[in-house]
Amino acid sequence: MSVHTKVEIEFSDSLLSFIDEWRDRQGNLIMILHKVQEEIGYIPRKAAMKVAELLEVPLAKIYGVVTFYHFFKLEKPGKNQIQVCMGTACYLKGGEDLIQELEDILGIGLNQVTDDGRFSIEAVRCVGCCGLAPVIVIGEKVYGKVTKKELPGIIAAHRDG
């Protein structure tokens, strides 16, 4: 299936058919943005413009939604997104120290990406593993009861991933 639009960004067939399926359903915007982020990893400006065009809604409306919710990203994250849980239990048990240590090891700040594009650090809302606090999540892997000493090893394990 090919759809010709003015905005130059390639959407995969599955993304286009998903948008097609949801086009006329009520409350579709957030669901479509989730799908865009799932495929591209974030919501680049061009993708937002293309969604605006396909759904025939103003770009401002899309940005209104994207910037309101924490989950949507406007910048490309690292290949490995290191998410440090900042729920209450993790905070009490030293989540902040883990962020500090990660920043030192990787030489980047929160919400920044390393030069080689491999890692980015994020502070996230409670991931619901409070019994394992403090927790970090990389991709689908959850690391519990993490100590500062373990961080270099954990990062090394993901360096080639």
């Binding site: 579709n28 957030i30 939604v65 919710y69 905070y91 619901g128 019994g131 394992l132």
Partner: protein, 595 residues
């Protein structure tokens, strides 16, 4: 066909991410390898709740409880326990060194619990609808469709006294009744599964461990109020729960328990998922509905209440996951039965996520009216590491703290309110002497400031001002009049904020001021943080008499600011010190003091 043995592996996120999935596969392999598939079923079930000792494995029918099991233990469990009938002693959970608990229900972690909401979590395979049905699943829906009128259902709900478990505790039957009496063709039923309270994960466990209980209840509500469409608004951060729900919806449709003409009647009801995208304010009903509609999640003033004018302007019943999970039991066993559990004003049970400085962290479900002491000490096993209990925080960023002297209060909606806290969604975070109350308040305010939608001034400006004052106090620049100022702003926010987020945002400050005013005073007047948490107010010093000059601290110091000759007392350069506390942590002679 009945199996001789069942091996249940906890499929909760905590166990699963701790090599639980690998263990599950190895157990299946061990069973298949021995050709025992006909006799033994290996099941990955929902969360057992005892997250502190995961991964957990339960063997039935003998109810053996194995904890901290690794994938390498799989062979031994199958060979020794199943084949030879000798349980693997070293993996069994022991309450005390000498005592081995034989049956799961005898464990003190479970003994004081009473499971209604979590009745199926850890008991069934959540990916098989037949297992839910085998435990009386969809019986309540059948009863509602064939034996009860909508009036009967409302009456039963009324008798049960069930109140909303999302936080505010509004009587569920009244929401339903408001919707039911509106004369409108299109109505909706919504499940709030956007669990946003940091430190609470009971909804996640119910959705992952027993998704059908929510679907069944939503259909019951649909039939009662006259709605044909339901939406589950769920956090995108819960992929496993989303997957299980989708699977459950498909299976229910296949069996005619959802979709068109349910069980051959003229009642049709469909359920779709809508993903949240990380906004705490969406816990507010009107904001949640805006988000389901695909818009920014901004609240609007009530009334009109969603029950009358909600999703796309139509009457909408919204309940939270835990509330929904109670309903099938109320219908099958009756409202009177349910009302006998708990206290007069708060019937039934409540699930708490017991976390923080606690021995047995995990999910616990207890009858309303259980004391905090019972939960923290008898179920939770108390504060570990010989530290002293300081406070328990309930209700998350909207709640407050409760101190030692009130631990014997029976907990229900009203009692917690009297103590200046709230039930909230059920987060229960234990704090010990190493936790600073100013710091904790600052943590919560930072959260609510970040999550404020910015629509109304009291929340947008008041919250930020409160945060700034706390920040100032934690850095040693506070003044005594700041306390009166925080109270003034806090009370104003409670009265005039547009929605629950702003109205409750000052609670962590007001409640810590009430019980720990002295700690605030020490920060302000003495420039001291007694818990040693506020970095601007502490310093690390080496006690000369105790230091033997081993040099461990100097090697551990990340900025190299500790110096000294070997076998001579060392010294910390206070100017360069970043107060990371590494020296304090590594010293074996207690020669580093925090002041």
């Amino acid at each position: 066909m009945a199996y001789k043995h069942y091996i249940l592996v906890c499929g909760g996120v905590e166990c699963d991410s701790n090599k639980g999935d690998d263990l599950f596969r190895k157990l299946i392999h061990a069973v298949e390898h021995r050709g025992l598939m006909a006799d033994i079923q290996v099941v990955k079930s929902g969360c057992f709740g005892f997250c502190a000792v995961g991964p957990v494995v339960k063997i039935l029918p003998d109810e053996t409880f194995y904890v901290e099991v690794t994938p390498e233990d799989a062979e031994e469990i199958v060979e020794a326990h199943i084949v030879k009938g000798k349980p693997v002693e070293r993996l069994r959970y022991r309450e005390e060194e000498s005592k081995v608990n034989v049956r799961i229900k005898d464990l003190s972690f479970y003994q004081k619990q009473f499971r209604i909401v979590l009745r199926n979590c850890g008991a069934i395979n959540p990916e098989e609808i037949t297992e839910y049905i085998a435990r009386d699943g969809y019986l309540a829906l059948e009863k509602v469709l064939f034996e009860m009128t909508p009036d009967d259902v409302i009456e039963e709900m009324k008798k049960s006294g069930l109140r909303g478990r999302g936080g505010a505790g509004f009587p569920t039957w009244r929401k339903w009744e408001f919707s039911r009496v509106v004369d409108e063709k299109q109505k909706y039923v919504v499940c709030n599964a956007d669990e946003g309270d940091p430190g609470a994960y009971m909804d996640r466990s119910v959705l992952e461990g027993d998704p059908h209980s929510v679907l069944e209840s939503m259909a019951i509500a649909g039939h009662t109020v006259g709605a044909n469409q339901g939406y589950i608004y769920i956090r995108a951060e819960y992929p496993l729960a989303i997957d299980r729900l989708n699977r459950a919806i498909d299976q229910a449709k296949e069996l005619g328990l959802l979709g068109d003409n349910i069980l051959g009647t003229d009642f049709s009801f469909d359920i779709e998922l809508r993903l949240g995208a990380g906004a705490f304010v969406c816990g507010e009903e009107t904001a949640l509905l805006a988000s389901v509609e695909g818009k920014r999640g901004m609240p609007v003033p009530r009334p009109p209440f969603p029950a009358v004018k909600g999703l796309w302007g139509k009457p909408t019943v919204i309940n939270n996951v835990e509330t929904w999970a109670n309903i099938p039991v109320i219908i099958t066993r009756g409202g009177d039965w349910f009302a006998k559990i708990g206290t007069e004003g708060s019937t039934g049970t409540k699930v708490f996520a017991l976390t923080g400085r606690i021995q047995n962290s995990g999910l616990v479900e207890v009858p309303m009216g259980t004391t905090l002491r019972d939960i923290i000490y008898n179920i939770g096993g108390g504060v570990p590491g010989g530290k002293k209990f300081k406070a328990v925080q309930t209700g998350g960023p909207s709640g407050g703290v409760i101190t030692e002297e009130y631990l014997d209060t029976p907990i229900d909606y009203d009692q917690l309110g009297k103590l200046g806290s709230i039930m909230g969604s059920g987060g229960m975070i234990i704090m010990d002497e190493s936790d600073c109350m100013v710091d904790v308040s600052k943590f919560y305010l930072e959260f609510t400031v970040d999550e404020s939608c910015g629509k109304c001034a009291p929340c947008r400006i008041g919250g930020k001002t409160l945060f700034n004052i706390l920040d100032k106090i934690s850095k040693g620049n506070g003044e005594m009049e700041d306390i009166a100022k925080m109270k003034r702003i806090g009370h104003a926010m409670q009265r005039v904020s547009l929605c629950g987020l702003g109205q409750t945002a000052p609670n962590p400050i007001l409640s810590t001021l009430r019980y720990f005013g002295e700690e605030y005073r020490q920060h302000i007047e003495e420039k001291k943080c007694p818990a040693g948490k506020c970095k601007s107010l502490i310093s690390y010093e080496i006690i000369e008499d105790k230091c033997i000059g081993c040099g461990v601290c100097a090697r551990a110091c990340p900025v190299g600011c500790i110096s000294g000759e070997r076998r001579m007392p060392h010294l910390i350069n206070q100017v360069e010190c970043i107060k990371c506390g590494e020296c304090y942590n590594v010293c074996k002679f207690n020669a580093v003091a925090v002041g």
